[in-house]
């Protein structure tokens, strides 16, 4: 188990990775414990547009709802969206990358061509179109984001697989009569875990950006609190350009989006650095 120990040891010594890890941990805790941290914001409050301070940590919006509660519940839907998007991306992208990297010849080039085509698609306009067609429930939005995140994952997986499948131990496994699916999932997948893991954390980050973007454009789920939805409401109420400006309304969700993306990016960079033996020295 020497391997594992060195992984965790070097992870603890990697400041970037640790910052990212704690950032992610904080958001995960916020998301999980949202119901106990703050009541679900609904209806109308009595005091509207109260500046942050005593009682109202992040202030209130134009309906008198607590912005802090909105942000906390937003963390929950952001995590939900990214988790589903990552799941969808992994279910499509991993097999696509593994198979196209392992099976050279026709199957490989066909899948690789598909990956390249999907990589060149203009993602945001398509997402908007599809989100508009399938309707804006939060799960639809998540699946749509996942459907457009898999090509990068597949490409990364494919490149790593191409390298690993040239290794002699894969040839040795073939010589032992081990069937292809077993070689792919038992021998190659675990060897490409590094770059794949990094890419998955990046998808976590970009999924939230996409979700916020879609929500801001009004294609998100209007019944769920998400950071993008808060921003949209603030924008619709002209809170961004009003004087005096209720800055707390739009600032906090933006800060959290940034925080989320940066945390996951740092976590990904950290994992990457640790798994790369060259940078471990």
């Amino acid at each position: 188990m020497q391997n594992n120990r060195t992984f965790f040891q070097s992870f603890i010594r990697n400041p970037m990775g640790m910052i990212g890890f704690f950032g992610v941990l904080l958001i995960v805790l916020l998301g999980i414990f949202a119901p106990t941290i703050a009541a679900y914001p609904k209806g109308y409050g009595t005091e509207i547009l109260v500046a942050p301070g005593s009682g109202m940590l992040f202030g209130t919006d134009n309906l008198g709802l607590n912005v802090f509660a909105e942000v906390v519940w937003g963390a929950r839907s952001s995590l939900y969206v990214s988790a589903i998007a990552v799941l969808v991306a992994a279910v499509i992208g991993l097999p696509a990358g593994l198979i196209s990297g392992y099976k050279k010849g026709k199957i490989g080039s066909v899948i690789d061509g598909l990956i390249d085509i999907f990589l060149t698609l203009p993602v945001l306009p398509l997402m908007i179109v599809i989100a508009a067609i399938v309707g804006s429930s939060i799960i639809n939005v998540a699946v749509v984001i996942g459907l457009f995140s898999w090509p990068s994952l597949a490409k990364v997986t494919r490149n790593a697989t191409l390298r690993i499948s040239e290794m002699q131990y894969i040839e040795a496994a073939k010589c032992l009569g081990i069937p292809s699916y077993r070689i792919i999932f038992k021998h190659i997948l675990i060897n490409v875990a590094g770059p794949v893991l990094v890419n998955l954390t990046l998808i976590m980050a970009t999924a939230v950006l996409s979700e916020s973007g879609l929500s801001f454009l009004g294609l998100g789920d209007p019944t769920t609190w998400s950071w993008g939805a808060i921003l949209k409401k603030a924008w619709d109420a002209s809170a961004v350009i009003d004087t005096p400006n209720p800055w707390w309304w739009w600032l906090w969700p933006s800060v959290f989006i940034m925080f989320y993306v940066i945390s996951f990016n740092l976590l990904g960079t950290g994992i990457n650095e640790i798994l790369n033996p060259k940078s471990r020295e």
Binding site: Q2, N3, K104, G105, M167, Q168, Y169, I170, E171, A172, A173, K174, C175, L176, G177, I178, P179, R182, K186, H187, I190, N191
Partner: protein, 329 residues
């Protein structure tokens, strides 16, 4: 004696982008009998490794079979599908590689890797049985403390120990034929001696095909020898006959190039020239441009494998009686 593997005029090669066909292995014919160790020798790039991969039907993509056949116990390997091949690989024929440092998967334990072939080929076997088998096999190939080593990873093993693990992996299902592709090349001399000793012991159990360019290893381990040059079998036969009485000029050259105690102080013999690349193989005998004994006859037509002894064949115009003497051609 039954043949485990029989090459029958096997030809293979590849096509380049513009559709030109090249030939890598030309008219390979030899057989591996039950219980016999066969050495395949030749310079780098003469097709030794291609020959051994052909037995397992694990040729690189883009390679085409141009003729002939390979028989495993009388059945054509070339006609078998993927599933039938997977069944044979590891169970009946297995292979050990040159590079012990890269031939083990770094992320799996030794126990898992050695036992995997059992798991795949005998799906009914219990995990405890597999483990017992693996431990026994590790013990057999001379790995101390197999109980502890079972749970360790390849990076905790030295080169020699890894080679032993690979041998254990290849032997776990008691294959009828073991192909060893330069099993000692990457090891230092003392470890080489130990691994050779081990190979000598395991050789008793089944047939072996030893691919190497070390004639010393062949004389130590093998009963029969196949000498290859540029994709052709130039000479083959009983090890004693070929070593004592090499017929083909290339075999003679190889023998002469081995340093011996008598050659102390003298310059070592070398065969002039280099192995031709596949794009400029000679039409006739492929060795003729480098051959000291070549004549005009060698250029045009390829000689056929001719019997020159009890179990001794050579492919050279000098001995080709079936088609008349080379001078008349």
């Amino acid at each position: 004696m039954n043949n485990i593997i029989e090459f029958k005029n096997f030809r293979m090669g590849f096509k380049d982008e513009s559709g030109n066909e090249f030939n890598l292995l030309d008219d390979i014919s030899f057989e591996i009998k039950e219980g016999v160790a066969l050495g395949v020798v030749g310079e780098s790039g003469c097709g030794k490794s291609m020959t051994s991969l052909s037995v397992l039907k694990l040729l690189p993509s883009g390679v085409t079979i141009q003729g002939g056949d390979i028989l495993y116990k009388g059945d054509s390997i070339l006609d078998m599908n993927q599933e039938q091949m997977e069944d044979i690989r590891g169970k009946d024929i297995s292979m050990i590689f040159q590079e012990p440092m890269t031939a083990l998967n770094p992320v799996h334990t030794i126990g898992f890797q050695v036992g995997e072939a059992l798991k795949v080929h005998f799906p009914g076997m219990k995990n405890s049985e597999i483990k017992a088998n693996v431990l026994e096999q590790l013990e057999l190939v001379g790995i101390p403390n197999p109980e502890t080593r079972y749970y360790q990873y390849p990076h905790q093993f030295s080169g020699g120990m890894r080679q032993r693990v690979m041998i254990a992996m290849a032997l776990i299902c008691n294959p009828k034929l073991l192909i060893a592709d330069e099993p000692t090349t990457a090891l230092d001399v003392t470890i080489q001696a130990q691994v050779l000793e081990l190979m000598k012991n395991i050789k008793q159990k089944g047939s072996m095909m030893l691919v190497t360019h070390n004639l010393g290893v062949v004389s130590e381990l093998c009963d029969e020898i196949v000498v290859m040059y540029a994709g052709c079998v130039v000479e083959r036969g009983n090890i004693g006959e070929v070593f004592e009485n090499p017929k083909h000029p290339y075999t003679k050259g190889l023998m002469a190039a081995v340093p011996s105690l008598d050659s102390k102080g003298k310059e070592l013999y070398t065969i002039p020239g280099i192995v031709p690349t596949v794009k400029n193989f000679e039409k006739g005998c492929r060795f003729s441009p480098r051959c000291e004994e070549s004549s005009e006859a060698c250029k045009g037509i390829k000689p056929e494998l001719t019997r020159v002894g009890d179990n001794h064949f050579v492919e050279c115009w000098k001995y080709n009686n079936s088609e008349g003497s080379p001078c008349q051609k």
